[in-house]
Assembly symmetry: C2
């Protein structure tokens, strides 16, 4: 450590918010170069390389072939698939000295597709899985939490190529199994959730989320069934239609005065005060139908309004709506938007003025989509399109119709599981991996075809699979630390052993050097704190901060023939005889490695 | 090979000029993604990684600590050192979504300097050597020859930090030794030459050039003394002044008619025809003084003319002039430039109208620098600043003076060595490594100081050292191939052995698989050509093209208990008994590795 390029900090860095991020900076693993752009210092680079190696081994084990595409890419392939535009501000674009448009690759579907098109032409050459561990770029609006969402980051991306759907399904399953092994080996508490395919296109997709309170993604789980999904991917089932008898028994819709009731809260209060229910129950927010109008903006700049109808006790979930409208983005309806649609009375918008066919009767013509919990035949209190007025007993299907449904309402703890097996709990996670069945979207856009066994040209079907390699370092740091510092799992630790020589006695340093030489000679990686003028207290603090799993302290006890071995993870300390030290440390490190290897070799459920 | 992502080509790719580049593409090692930007296919990536590993081992051996800086960098540090501007069009610049200026790092002096400034503060923490093996970007005007001068490329860059000049000298020497070992191990024919420091600033610098007829760099060597230098770095000694007697004996300068003599050739002809020498010798081009005026453009856009006076038998060397005027670039004087300086008569420009003080007597005021071979006291035939007229016996120092000297004239085969020990030969090379004693330029610009042993702040002195890692792959390909394909040295080959199963007999394939399993089990890397329906001829051709050093052919001979081992490098083939095959292949591969390791371990002269 007297030579190591390392400076530990006692104070939290100003730019860091999350505890793991603070510790990575304080312990000298990473250093910020620009917002969302980090330097890997020597110890950090060692951890990053260990993650890479785990990922590489598991990708090789499923027959993946490693190659490496450039980060600096030409515009044309991304233009062909539409992503040059769709990525919006998230794409780093630049021009070269000749004015040619280029980009920094955010992900490489296009490039892999073109390479396979150029090199392969027959079904005999498939299936094929290619991967790279490479630096990627995304100009995130809010680069966050250090490595968790950086603008330059290391990712493993792989792509499968098959002639038919069964092949894709098998490739997807192989990746899924490999990912389970990868995240087991990295030591995560993780969950596999159904995911939204978003802007990537394609059908089936799952995410591997590291369970963490600091995660950006919300996911749901149902303990009864094992169902798990990213909140964007939860598909709330369509409520079954009410019977015709129920509809027939519902009184005719009627407009009532509800002064000063532009919010659900005021509407419920006014309804209970002025128009009590005849069945004696009180009006609740869930009896009202809220109509939320938003403005969509497509990547090419075109704008289009959208109306969402949902029960008044739920909010629109920003991320769920975002996932549904992608690649468009949405913003709340503004005053100028209302001015363009004078038939929409803010706070009193009703179904009558919404829907694509509403223009015929003087409505807005705005596309109108209902939450699936709004059953056909159900009656609602909703806006009457007039200031201070609402309509009661407006029945879906009898008195109004929408243009379709949308999965945009918030999901709540305790909601029924979409598979009908129980209720949902909510938690947060960090997206560590994502696997997609892309299908033929990219192959069609870039014309990737091969000859099948009958000599006919068929479009190839693809999968796309990512692991956040640099993000994994951050996720482990967030998951595995205490108030003293980082606590690395054995598989990712920057070293196997941290040896401290404490005190001033030359014999202590000499003995420590001998021990370090023996451990290093046996193939272990050792951090050796040989700093001559640093106090034992500072050395202990630094060792806790760095978080190497096994700490060996050589100090005063040496005179009595003992030294101390401490486990950073459990805090357990024990004295061992000097002669036994090497044997014991080796046994500990190798024993854990053997256990980990056995676990990794176990086939997955 | 039936699964490998590889397609060999029989035809040369259109974009390739150099033989090694053509073969790298034909053999499926690399693939162009954009001009100067390449994808590493599976076999190519293996070679690249082997180069990286050699470089890493040798950097670690001299105490280098590996880290990794981002490629996407903020503008400010490069602004502070002036390189944001100085790099001109060679820098890839871009803006992020907030409009902040960023760049793709061409080299990282600034970032390393700032990191050390931030983390270290005392002489006790020095000396320090840091390195990275990382992707770099330069927007080359003429990206050339595939990987030789790419726009995205892999480089090892390292930086040394010392408190004093002796420390820098030692760090430089350690790097020099490490580089000798690196290039020995990579198997280059290389030469270490004195180099020009160019835009990097700093003092001492040497280049490691792979000797190659396709190299972009010209270098000189003196066999007698061992002197070697990049042509830009050759310092022609100042010719000794002629004695006063010689000057006194020189007739007075006189203007003569030399109609139609705007070139040296016509001037010599006219001089011999109209004004023969009195000593009976004929006029030669070397008796004339040619004055070449060029326009310099600085990175900030300012322009300034420059005049170079040199003997008429030499041309200005474009690269030597470029190195002298850097960071400015130069272009020939154009008609509009002549129009701005009407006193300069094209084809008849003489010293009278040149020089900073010439403006006082109606001259151009243009800075005028002489080639060092123009001795003080020497007499010349040169322009008289009037159409069709030249001046004879114009003596340097008597009749005109210049503002200084410049090392811009071409160097020729047979020129005297600058060290006076013999004559120069010229050859071409590929710049594979470059080591610089930067000194305090970057530390001063970015204020990197540490406390010395007396508690005084001193500016750190730095070295900067680069190895072209991806370029090394290209250089080896250019150096090591024949008409059939690539011929990899053992240390860089993508595999140790290439096993061919030829014929249709199932027993052949079964035996080959067994052999591959044994070789792989023994730790060798094997390419196995298991393609069932490919003819032996195609398999042989592909094996020669790929260039793995040892080729094992299993075919008809199997029935007689023999197979063939071929050395791709020597072409030597031998039959061996089936039972002996594994032992013999292992002996060959390991024997060569042992020899290479012994050679690498040998201390350098």
């Amino acid at each position: 450590m007297s030579n190591l390029f390392l400076r530990t900090l006692r104070e939290d860095p100003a730019e860091a918010e999350l505890p793991g991020h603070k510790l990575l900076v304080r312990a000298g693993y990473i250093r910020r170069a620009a917002p969302g752009v980090y330097t890997w210092l020597p110890l950090g680079l060692k951890v990053l390389r260990k993650v890479e190696e785990v990922v590489r081994e598991e990708m090789d084990a499923i027959g993946g072939q490693e190659l490496s595409f450039p980060a600096l890419l030409p515009r044309e392939p991304y233009e062909a698939t539409g992503r040059w535009t769709e990525y919006g501000d998230n794409l780093f674009r630049l021009q070269d000295r000749k004015g040619a448009d280029m980009l920094l690759g955010p992900t490489h579907e296009e490039m892999f597709t073109l390479a396979v098109k150029d090199m392969f032409s027959s079904y005999k050459e498939l299936p094929l899985t290619l991967y790279q561990i490479q630096t990627k770029y995304r100009d995130e609006a809010r680069p966050r939490a250090g490595l968790l969402r950086g603008r330059e980051f290391v990712m493993k991306d792989s792509y499968s190529f098959d002639v038919d759907d069964a092949g894709l399904e098998a490739a997807y399953q192989r990746h899924r199994d490999a990912y389970l092994r990868i995240f087991d080996r990295l030591g995560f508490d993780y969950v596999v959730v159904h995911a939204d395919s978003g802007a990537m296109g394609g059908s089936a997709s799952e995410e591997f989320l590291a369970v963490s309170p600091v995660g950006e993604d919300t996911f749901v789980r149902c303990e009864a069934s094992g169902y798990a999904a990213n909140v964007e991917a939860v598909v709330v089932p369509q409520a079954p239609p009410l019977s015709q008898e129920v509809v027939d028994a519902t009184p005719a819709a009627r407009v009532e005065d509800t002064p000063d009731s532009p919010t659900i809260e005021t509407l419920v209060a006014q309804s209970n005060a002025l128009h009590p229910r005849t069945d004696g129950r009180a009006w609740k927010a869930a009896d009202t139908l809220k109509n939320v109008v938003v403005m969509l903006t497509y990547p090419d700049g075109t704008r289009e309004p959208l109306a969402v109808g949902l029960p008044g006790d739920r909010e629109v979930d920003a991320k769920r709506l975002e996932a549904q409208v992608a690649p468009a983005t949405w913003t709340p309806f503004e005053e100028k938007d209302f001015a363009a649609y004078p038939m929409l009375v803010k706070g009193y918008i009703g179904p009558a003025m919404l829907g694509e066919t509403s223009a015929e009767r003087g409505g807005s013509g705005i596309r109108y989509l209902l939450d699936p919990s709004v059953a056909h035949g159900s009656a609602w209190v909703t806006g009457a399109d007039e200031h201070g007025k609402h309509v009661y007993d407006l029945v879906n299907g009898r008195d109004f119709t929408a243009d379709g449904t949308i999965q945009a309402a918030e999901i709540r703890e305790g909601d029924p599981s979409p598979d009908g097996a129980g209720t949902l709990t909510l938690a947060r996670g960090i997206e560590m991996g994502h696997i997609f069945q892309l299908g033929r979207k990219y192959a069609e856009a870039l014309d990737l075809k091969v000859l099948d066994e009958n000599g006919k040209l068929v479009t190839v079907t693809m999968g796309s699979y990512g692991v956040g390699v640099s993000r994994a370092v951050a996720a482990v740091a967030e998951a595995s630390h205490d108030e003293l510092g980082l606590v690395w799992p054995r598989a990712l630790a920057p070293a196997d052993v941290h040896v401290l020589a404490t005190g001033k006695d030359q014999a202590i340093f000499e003995h420590a050097e001998g021990l370090v030489a023996q451990l290093t000679g046996a193939g272990l990686e050792v951090v050796y704190d040989d700093r001559p003028k640093v106090s034992p207290g500072v050395k202990f603090k630094d060792a806790e901060l760095l978080g190497v799993p096994t700490i060996v302290v050589i100090g005063r006890g040496l005179a009595d023939g003992v030294l101390e071995i401490k486990d950073r993870r459990t805090g357990e300390r024990r004295e061992v005889a000097v002669d036994e030290a090497v044997t014991q440390v080796l046994a500990e490190v190798r024993g854990e490695q053997a256990v980990a290897e056995a676990a990794a070799a176990r086939p997955q459920a």
